[in-house]
């Protein structure tokens, strides 16, 4: 071994004495949230700006852990326009007890010009909320909304233009070969030809501390549920591709250790930078361009028809991770955050995703292409969408920084 790798660090015994935010145990009755928009009770101690405290250990080499947390719902977001206003108003009541007419009318009005879907704050927030019903749920929202047919129809009305715009603006990369190796090689070539890790180079060289905190806030929308959208694909696959996806996802989820789940490692970084690591704490800060990246994953993951796209998305995501994360880690250290809590997440992804990209290229995407050759175009489309959407979100971020502005919708506290 060359040097000390964070993965060698011993784990400490997790603290168990911290109260966790819990949901109503019945799961039926919606919990009543104060309507003031007050932040939900975080599942961990409030961040003080200090590095996370490894429970009971003083050694700087000990891997820090967070107390076990409860299942935290997405805080109820602030609406951004007529659709999300009508949606959140409806969701505050029980399905069947509310008329979705105003919501349908708001969607119909927007559908008269179904363009710029990817950057529409109102549309992307509405999609985020509709998809969130399938993940952790939203504070104060009845879980029965998840399968309400009328609400699903509204989601479909918003999804159709979203997918159409993606198909219109993200060309399917050509791929002459349909075999496992050929598809894998095409994916590697596609991701290598992408504009390159310009955001990560920026972070490595010159990003300021406030800008890095903004980046973490953007990323938190996905990273605090890292891997979940791709997990939807597991039951949609069979045989080798299914096993390959499970092999990747098991690693993402810490191989059974909750403190090594990648989402938890990201929470450590947030705390190291004095940010609130509560699930969804910054949803109101994050612009549509960033939400669209996550919404595309949810779109691909929740539709069996698009299983090729979610697999291609994961392949591209993994193939553009190792080298950038090394640079992110360098940037974090450059800013003086050299403790394990701040760097573990990035160092872990350098090593993990160098493994995952190989599995994702051949054993997952390549094998799926051989199993279901008609999915090849969607595999490449999903990969191209990953690059296009993440690229657009990063470009928007860097443009704001170049103008000495903020990339967020509202300033961080």
């Amino acid at each position: 071994m060359d040097g000390m790798s964070p993965v060698e660090a011993p784990t400490t015994t997790p603290s168990t004495g911290v109260a966790t935010a819990v949901e109503p145990s019945s799961g039926r009755a919606p919990s009543v949230e104060p309507s003031s928009g007050a932040a939900p009770t975080p599942s961990v101690e409030p961040s003080s700006g200090a590095a996370p405290t490894p429970s009971g250990e003083a050694s700087s080499s000990a891997a820090p852990t967070l107390p076990p947390r409860g299942a935290v719902r997405l805080p109820r977001p602030a609406p951004r326009g007529p659709i999300s206003t009508a949606l959140l108003a409806a969701l505050s009541r029980s399905p069947g007890a509310v008329d979705l007419g105003p919501l349908r009318a708001a969607v119909a009005a927007r559908l008269t010009d179904p363009t710029d879907w990817r950057t529409d704050e109102d549309v992307q927030l509405a999609l985020l909320c509709l998809y969130e019903l399938h993940y952790r749920g939203i504070a104060g929202v009845d879980d029965d909304w998840e399968w309400d047919p009328d609400l699903l129809a509204v989601r479909a009305a918003l999804e159709v233009p979203f997918e159409a715009e993606l198909r219109r603006t993200v060309p399917v990369p050509e791929c002459d070969r349909r075999d496992r190796t050929g598809v894998a090689e095409r994916l590697f070539a596609l991701t290598a030809a992408a504009d390159g890790p310009s955001l990560s180079r920026h972070v490595a060289r010159k990003t300021t501390e406030p800008q890095l905190r903004e980046l973490l806030v953007h990323r938190s929308i996905y990273q605090l549920k890292e891997a979940d959208p791709h997990t939807w694909a597991i039951p949609r696959l069979a045989g080798g591709p299914k096993a390959a996806l499970v092999e990747i996802q098991a690693d993402e989820y810490g191989d059974g250790d909750p403190h090594r789940m990648h989402a938890e490692l990201f929470a450590l970084v947030m705390r190291a930078f004095g940010l609130d690591d509560t699930y969804g704490a910054y949803v109101d800060h994050v612009p549509a361009a960033t939400l669209a990246s996550l919404n595309a994953m949810s779109l691909f993951g929740l539709h069996r028809r698009l299983r090729g796209a979610i697999v291609g998305h994961l392949a591209a995501f993994e193939m553009t991770s190792s080298l950038p994360n090394r640079l992110y880690g360098n940037g974090v250290r450059r800013l003086g955050h050299d403790d394990v809590a701040a760097t573990w997440y990035f160092d872990e992804h350098v090593a993990a995703d160098a493994v995952h990209e190989q599995i994702a290229g051949r054993d997952l995407a390549g094998a799926l292409a051989e199993q279901e050759p008609e999915l090849v175009d969607d595999i490449l489309f999903g990969a191209a969408c990953c690059l296009a959407l993440d690229g657009a979100a990063a470009a928007r971020m860097m443009q704001a920084w170049d103008a000495d502005g903020t990339s967020l919708l509202r300033p961080l506290p």
Binding site: M1, F188, E247, D251, L323, V350, A351, A352, A354, Q358
Partner: protein, 79 residues
């Protein structure tokens, strides 16, 4: 279940996955299953995950593991 091939009541459990090494084209060696990685002194190296990628291009900054550098240093496994 224990991880040594025995359940808690002493009966044999599913045997560990046999070791395998995949030489990835223009990339690392992907090591799966029941394989120990040792350092130069014969001490086991913590793999950190079930499946690991060993650097084959020589350029990794986290040897013996792959860090993706082969994608940017022109490494080819075809010769």
């Amino acid at each position: 279940m224990t991880d040594h091939g025995r359940t808690t009541d002493g009966h044999p459990s599913t045997p560990p996955r046999p070791g395998s090494i995949v030489a990835c084209p223009d990339g690392p060696l992907l090591v799966r299953g029941d394989v120990e990685v040792l350092d130069a002194d014969g001490r086991p190296v913590d793999k950190g995950r079930r499946t690991v990628a060993l650097c084959r291009c020589g350029g990794s900054s986290i040897k013996p593991w792959c860090d993706g550098t082969h994608k940017v240093n022109g490494f080819s496994s075809s010769t």
